[in-house]
Symmetry: C2
Subunit: 379 residues, 2 copies
């Protein structure tokens, strides 16, 4: 194998592929990045067997030459070194030559690296997915959906299925749900479908995969294809394929958890409410339980308090528009803060159904998403 | 005690004082910040007994009121919470009231914090220094001197005196030296003195103190006073006093270590040389010894190589202007990189006296500083 490639493009794509590579893998060949050169260009692959990323670098793009292939072939190079090395190379071009025994030479400017490569035949093949279940959505929407749900997944392995975000279709919309059983984030989106009858449920993507995907997806509104199979999901970006394993197990039915009625309803400005809770959390964090108390006042406003026996107490009044009964409730302040941070709406509505029942926060401006919280018992 | 203070100014100064406070102190009162209010303004103090910082906030500055004192007094408040709380307060003003039993109320905007204070009488007094040994230098020069020496101090407690930077006067100049016995950084500076006969030696400031001081000192060329006593040093900035304990023990005599002759001398461009070493370090770091090899070539250039048996090898040629004998030497690449990063000169000169003798790197443009390195034996 022998090729020359534009340095900046190569560095960018090697970094993307390297995101899938874990140094803690038990399969030695997966510590490497696979590089394949053929007539059309270069293909780079990285994988930790949960997530696999494949990037294609075409020979030409927009009439500019990116890769010149002198000899076809393939090699696997240690991802950790290779990604660091290409980033630091001095020239505008990188030349890569593979000789006998996978001995690899990388030249750029005044620099010559001789690296010990690994046998590309040992590298596992990526899954070939049947593209029956396919939908399409803008990249920036996907990025937002990830941001607005993934923080709520469980970090505990006691119920592995809760460490993922659940995807399902309902009445033609895509619904993403994440919950750690104390809080729930739900986000809806309109998607484009080839087949109007497209429908699926219990497609649970590991939160970790979505965090990686989010770093790769653009803020553009360019459409991307998503292919769903029984145990894999594939996101297709321009010249990049992102595969993730799906989590096994039955995702809980969450729709029935969301209260449809409310006894008390508050309308609040998002940012001041968030800042008040952040101040209250300074003390409640100390008790390690993050408990913040909310009480409605006769004036229609609310009082937020939190206490740390050692440090002290904080009290704050906030203006609200209130409807319904008076209410006293305690909740995990950090969970509510996490949710308020991803709500892109100047005002929110909070609906309570009782001091011991879950409550819901929704943006005022639209109904694309909601956040559900269990209260905390304080006595 | 009762006062109101401008929030931004108070936050800034509380953060500065909090830099001296360690959560790992064994003296409980030192986890707090002491606040004293009198006719002139507020005084804030933080200390971990090695470093103490005292900030004064005057009632007025530039005809603007900063503090309004309603009642004199003093209190000690937990630094960790207090610094976080004031940073997050919503109003432009902060009101602080101390009542019985050190119960402290902080009000700002809609926020009311009730904190448990500590007895200010328990807080240790700062040392009163005799100002016999006093010199003056610009703040930005001090900042540079710290940056160019402190990285070379020892991180090992086997010879505690080497964890500090040594200050001494010589022929009216100030000399700062740091060494971990494998490398040495030396920096000279001209200082202003009240007393022409001012002279001192073996003033060893802990590296940790200097790193904290560096975060507080401005990039301005405003002059600051420095007071040296037997076991303390005091840096006097506008409205801020920074005290540090000095290290005990005899600092080694380093002047005689610096070779005055040279067998081989190279003139090199600093940045490309640094980048070449950074690439070579990618491999030599893997062997955990950081060894990089340098060899002069017949062309007058040099060849830089490093090897990791597992990963591979890197070779790079660099243009130099060479004088003297041919040379092969191996050194700790990370140490040389650390030094090149703080050299503010486009070109450097390297002087070798032999493959087994220390070598010196100096900026071409001036002789304010030099860096000395022991070679590494590779056989």
């Amino acid at each position: 194998m022998r090729f020359s490639v534009n340095r900046d493009r190569f560095v960018h794509d090697v970094q993307n592929v390297a995101k899938a590579v874990s140094s803690r893998t038990t399969i030695p060949i997966l510590t490497g990045i696979k590089i394949v050169a053929n007539h059309e260009g270069l293909t780079l692959t990285g994988s930790d067997s949960d997530v696999s990323i494949e990037v294609f670098i075409p020979k030409e793009e927009d009439d500019k030459e990116i890769v010149e292939i002198q000899e076809k072939g393939s090699i696997v190079l240690q991802a950790r070194f290779f990604a660091e090395i290409v980033k630091k190379l001095p020239g505008d071009e990188i030349e890569l030559i593979v000789q006998d025994q996978f001995a690899t030479t990388i030249r750029s400017g005044s620099s010559v690296f001789n690296l010990n490569g690994l046998d590309p035949e040992e590298y596992p093949r990526l899954p070939q997915l049947e593209e029956d279940l396919l939908f399409r959505l803008p990249q920036d929407m996907l990025k937002n959906m990830i941001r607005q749900t993934v923080f709520a997944v469980s970090t505990q392995e006691t119920r592995p299925v809760l460490t993922g975000v659940n995807l399902e279709t309902e009445e033609g919309e895509l619904i993403c749900t994440a919950t750690d059983s104390h809080r729930l984030a739900m986000r809806k989106a309109t998607i484009e479908k080839n087949d109007e009858a497209l429908s699926f449920s219990n497609v649970v993507i590991p939160g970790k995969s979505l965090n990686e995907l989010s770093k790769i997806v653009d803020d553009s509104n360019e459409l991307m294809d998503v292919v769903v199979t029984e145990n894999q999901i594939l996101f297709k970006l321009k010249n990049l394929l992102f595969f993730s394993r799906l989590l096994e197990g039955k995702y809980p039915v969450t729709k029935s958890m969301i209260p449809t009625q409310s006894k008390t309803s508050l309308k609040l400005k998002t940012k001041p409410f968030l800042q008040t809770l952040e101040r209250a959390l300074l003390l409640s964090r100390e008790g390690k339980n993050n408990v913040i108390n909310l009480k409605t006042l006769d004036s229609g406003n609310i009082e937020i308090t939190s206490v740390s026996p050692e440090v002290g107490k904080v009290t704050e009044n906030i203006e609200t528009t209130m409807q319904g009964e008076e209410m006293r409730i305690s909740f995990n302040g950090k969970n509510v803060i996490d949710a308020l941070k991803v709500i892109d709406s100047d005002e929110v509505n909070i609906s309570f159904t009782g001091a011991m029942s879950p409550f819901v926060i929704r943006p005022i401006e639209h109904d694309h998403y909601l956040h559900l919280f269990s209260p905390v018992r304080t006595y």
